[in-house]
Symmetry: D2
Subunit: 407 residues, 4 copies
């Protein structure tokens, strides 16, 4: 019994490779297709449009194909309503649940199009029929009876399209290589940052302790002070060594001004944590003058919120650290909202965690000395990440300089 369905593709489907991917998957999965309309945008800013009829020998094959190509942005022409199934228990997903991408997503519910709120990858969509709202939630927040979207019917996504007018640094997509002109790249990132700030966009940084170890914390502190950073995501280690550096001039006991280990310096980070515990919080320590410079100091002084997420490696930890990882994820979700750019520097764990919560349209730059860190981030779904293989200890100071900051 043959089956067929008309689908359509719209946007920069050619130069973003979407059309190719759709054709490819249909044929890989044993289907055929006929292109019924194919209009290519003539001007650089035009989008293209294609409609095609997908044909398979069996209906179940058709369903598998439609489910798959949905993820590339293909949508079924006939506007159908979504299927809803109530969750049978807390955190228990219904069979066939719609697993979200990180692309902007819309659902047809009772004849209306709802924008899915707070989209992030690998989550579920839950409908509030009373409020006519569609919400993206991680499985951990699913409650018994929640109405969960099942299957792709009635769901539409808009994957990122590479417009022909390349942005400042978009040329870098693709292979992650250490053989790129670093200063040019940093200048482009600086330009992008300035443009975002001119439009009052928000920029978050995700940072690891190597920022302190490599001596780049004054540069990051200045970036915060000068209003370029709106949120800081980090762990106990970044905050601890930042404060250790402020209090004792060392990072893990190494004197940053000389690069040499100091006598007794191995205790400094414990002292730093202890002093903050005694003060009650980083904010108190700043307000009482105990901490008077550094990354965390500038966060407090400039009302830049931070999330310090706990990890099992932590000493202490600082009282500001969110030790429960699920609670920390929620904090990340809360603060990552509305960011236009996320700068990830020298931390794989926190970068993947924040990347998991990002919609695909957020500009994401991952700076790491190890090329495979970027690859892993992209393998985990943060496909929009642009990798810069460089050293935090030189990257941040040069970035600050490009942004007109005196160090």
């Amino acid at each position: 019994m043959e089956a067929s369905q008309e689908i359509e593709l719209e946007g920069h489907i050619i130069d973003s490779g979407i059309m190719t991917s759709v054709f490819d998957r249909i044929m890989d999965m044993g289907g055929n297709f006929e292109v019924t309309t194919f209009e290519i945008g003539k001007k650089k800013t035009d989008s293209s449009f294609a409609s095609l009829i997908v044909r398979t020998e069996k209906p179940e094959e058709l369903n598998a194909i439609l489910s798959e190509i949905h993820r590339f942005g293909a949508r079924i022409l006939i506007r159908e309503n979504i299927n809803l199934v109530p969750a049978e228990g807390d955190k228990i997903v219904p069979q066939g649940f719609y697993s979200t991408t990180n692309h902007p997503t819309f659902v047809n519910f009772q004849g209306n199009t709802l924008t899915v709120q707070d989209i992030e990858m690998d989550c579920l969509i839950v409908i509030n029929p009373a409020k006519h709202e569609a919400q993206c939630i991680p499985m951990a927040k699913l409650k018994t009876g929640d109405l969960v979207v099942v299957g792709e019917r009635g769901v539409r996504i808009t994957p990122p399209e590479r417009p022909r007018e390349l942005s400042n640094f978009e040329f870098m997509h693709g292979n992650v290589s250490s053989e790129r002109p670093t200063q040019t790249i940093i200048a482009n990132i600086a330009k992008e940052i300035k443009e975002i700030k001119q439009k009052n966009g928000k920029i978050a940084i995700v940072g690891g302790p190597a920022i302190i170890h490599t001596g780049a914390s004054p540069a990051l502190a200045k970036l915060i002070k000068n209003g370029f950073i709106d949120t800081v995501f980090a762990g106990n280690a970044l905050a601890t060594h930042d404060i250790e550096y402020t209090l004792y001039g060392t990072s893990l006991g190494m004197d940053i001004l000389t690069g040499k280990p100091t006598v007794g310096g191995h205790k400094n980070h414990i002292y730093a944590i202890s002093r903050i515990i005694k003060a009650g919080s980083i904010r108190n320590a700043v307000n009482t003058g105990i901490v008077n410079s550094g990354i965390m100091y500038e966060c407090i002084k400039n009302n830049v919120p931070y999330v310090l997420a706990g990890s099992i490696r932590d000493d202490g930890p600082l009282p500001d650290v969110v030790t429960d990882t699920i609670v920390a994820q929620d904090k990340i979700r809360e603060y990552v909202k509305d960011c236009s750019m996320v700068l990830m520097v020298a931390t794989l764990l926190h970068s993947i965690a924040v990347g998991n919560c990002l919609p695909s349209y957020v500009k994401t730059i991952c700076v790491d000395i190890n090329p495979s860190s970027v690859t892993k981030l992209m393998d985990r779904g943060t496909m929009q990440a642009i990798g810069v293989v460089s050293d935090a200890g030189t990257f941040l100071p040069i970035l600050a300089k490009e942004l007109g900051i005196e160090l």
Copy 2:
């Protein structure tokens, strides 16, 4: 005002480099010394002994030197009692607190030598005067009024000594290189494992999800089934993908038998977590036949305890995951006790976390495709770690074969 103090060194102080380090530090820090006794062990199994008088121009210099060389095992001849200071608040460390190494540690308390219990690095020593007990505790557990050892006086440590009879794989110490005979190394590790098991020693594994992704989970499952592994330390990802592989044959949606992504496979790990949530726990899922093979299955069936520590990257997580990182650290501490060997495979986060809790005499092998993972582990204090730069996907199957296991 000149100051001087006689100290002594004992053990394999020459070939382990301890004597050199002590001489070196004294002179680096501006002191002088005179060797009063120097007896070198004549036979391979003999230890050596040296006593020396350290001299400085000022008493405070002498104290700094004694504090520093203490960490290499130098001990003050005159048996003094430790200094104790009560903690002024929960988690607040006294000034000058004794920061532990991960070496076996002894304190003189009221004329008696107490062995410090549960030694691990970067912690404090608290004395229970009533019970005449010395306990190593992380700062997070310090309570108001706890009697904390301050300064090095009365504390003695015994750093690891490299005996001249090298153990099976000890030759590998030093540079971490991918240019070593892998099969020889694996054979040596297998031999060491067998010897430990013959003496009823305990072996723990710390593993990352790459074990599943690289197709090595059947090998690890067999190692557990055959009694070579006594504890498993991992995160949500290893357990989730292990169960995903058992239920669906995939890992993060990739079919392990073909290496190809499967249609709809990106949902499999969410389904896997959801099914365990529905069952209540991994144990229940095993007992009701939902999960009938794999790493976690063998843990349950063979009563091998596991700690699944949460991280901010986690989907779900599984109900067995300890989401609070401080609680998870305590679980690690509990289960790592009495291990004779820890095998760390393809995870830096969990390896450093477990490494933080290990005494320095536990044989620690770190297998990673990235040489800098091993370097980082050692930089964080797990100096005894031996690095094997290899691929989990080939390492574990070959190790299983060397242990006589049919795959």
Copy 3:
């Protein structure tokens, strides 16, 4: 003055991304196009066909676009003859010379289509009008007066097409990751090797000295002995340490059976070289029984040719080493001809050198513990390379086993 040109695309242009690339580049470079024909292959084995008219505002823009999209396989419909310009001096390229890709290439010369011989990337095409032959040559071989093809007119290339029926390991294209099922990948490579040998295809190996250091030389020797390898490309180091291992059991002085350095072993590789120098050649040393096992031994015994290319790091070198790098390149060119597969193991220098000489249709597998080695190889133009991030010391023994060889 507007300009336009009709071009056509043929083959698996959709699923190999060729059509997308062509559309993309035209628009990026300021042109427009109209699709005049677009036939998509209905069956898996069918190829597709598209013809389009490219339009620009100025003729020079059209030329730039045609030159660029030519490299993706676009061809101009009207069959024009090539342009030829004589070289003004030895090794001096004419302005606008046609720079070759590594794809199969054809030229229209005096109304006939000539296949370009010995195609490799970044070279020139020289026409012998008397013999009606087109030859690809590196600039180093260009002689005064040679007729060099200039511009893309009359040149047609056929880039590799990804057929829908994936070959054994083609699924791996794309990101280079250490998180793949290694044993599955090796099994697939073994299957591919067997299929090639069944069709009497030739397989070359490019190997670095880490093969010996990691203890994998017996596995490679057996692969050669069993007829799986037809050519060996290596340097002085691989051959020297192979012979050192045969004569003394060490590699750079390290005993491969124990992994430990041997007393005086640092001289062994010099002795090994000296003994071959005394014998006159590796062949003589094998024939006189000095060398009686190992990789080089099996090459001699099984008439497997080898090219040992010199490098500035070399000790000795062995008399068989071609110390002039240009001569060595020519030897590589000579022996790499007609290979169906090249296996590159643990050497970046030799892999890039051999990769430079390979047509794009040769299956190329690059095994390295460092993911960025594969990235670099592909950045240098060997785009068809498939990366396997693994350890030579385990990869080769497992591959041998998969090929039915007892070790």
Copy 4:
């Protein structure tokens, strides 16, 4: 039959670990020893002295031990003359030949002490009895009848000693880590460079093409122009891309000012080579105004000699390239003489080649984005190398700035 020999150690034998290594090896190899004299330098600048009697059960064991500990600088008290054996053929080493270290070496010949000229590792010592000269030569230069030193008798070496007054960057020895304060390290290197130049010391750079790709060539050109670099060691790629950048603004076709690939840019490096071939040499191209800026330009203009060593990866190559690797090694030897510092940036092949020719007292700094490059360099014997894990594209500009150069 027992055997014994008195040996002595002198210099900073304690804090450089020499004494420990000697004690260690004697006992590892089954010997015993008695310390007869042991004088430790009281002041920072004093050296220490120890004499000991080594005892073994058999004479051959004693010889093996003496041979081994010789490499750590132990010398036999009774001044014996060296043993000499004539080479039986060109490039054929005598059995038991003395294999050089890269430490300063002295031989007793006919009652006199000769300093071995041009010491480098893994070579032989040949005596010219007429001239009373001792020369270090690689095996490739050994001629029939040359008198080769055999055994360690009569040979004395002085391994590098770490004086207690640390030099500017010596603190970094040991683990290679990306977690060091980069700007501090660069400042220290700059300070060291200035000190060397004040003493009229020579500084060489060994560089890879990534210097151009990462946009650091203007910085290096300025370093040369300002007299900080006395010799350049590189390959065809660095020179070619430097000239490509000068002529076309691209490196491998990528526009360095924008980071984007240019249309037709893949031909630029071939054009660059061709233009130099036409000019005859880089010098001619500079003198005739074809090349008017860049690294090679500054070399020519400032009479900074360069060695461009060929490799099998080369396109072209440039006429200045020494294509024979053995000839290139000799050129390296010639120009590396009398260097006080060698800076190795982003090339493993050339770094190892130059490292092979360096005495151990030459300050050697290896800058690479990949930590294992430094490890490999040290594994190949250049133990004095100090690793800086950073990005050439930021390292060189910051270094130039630290040296007071405007970019």
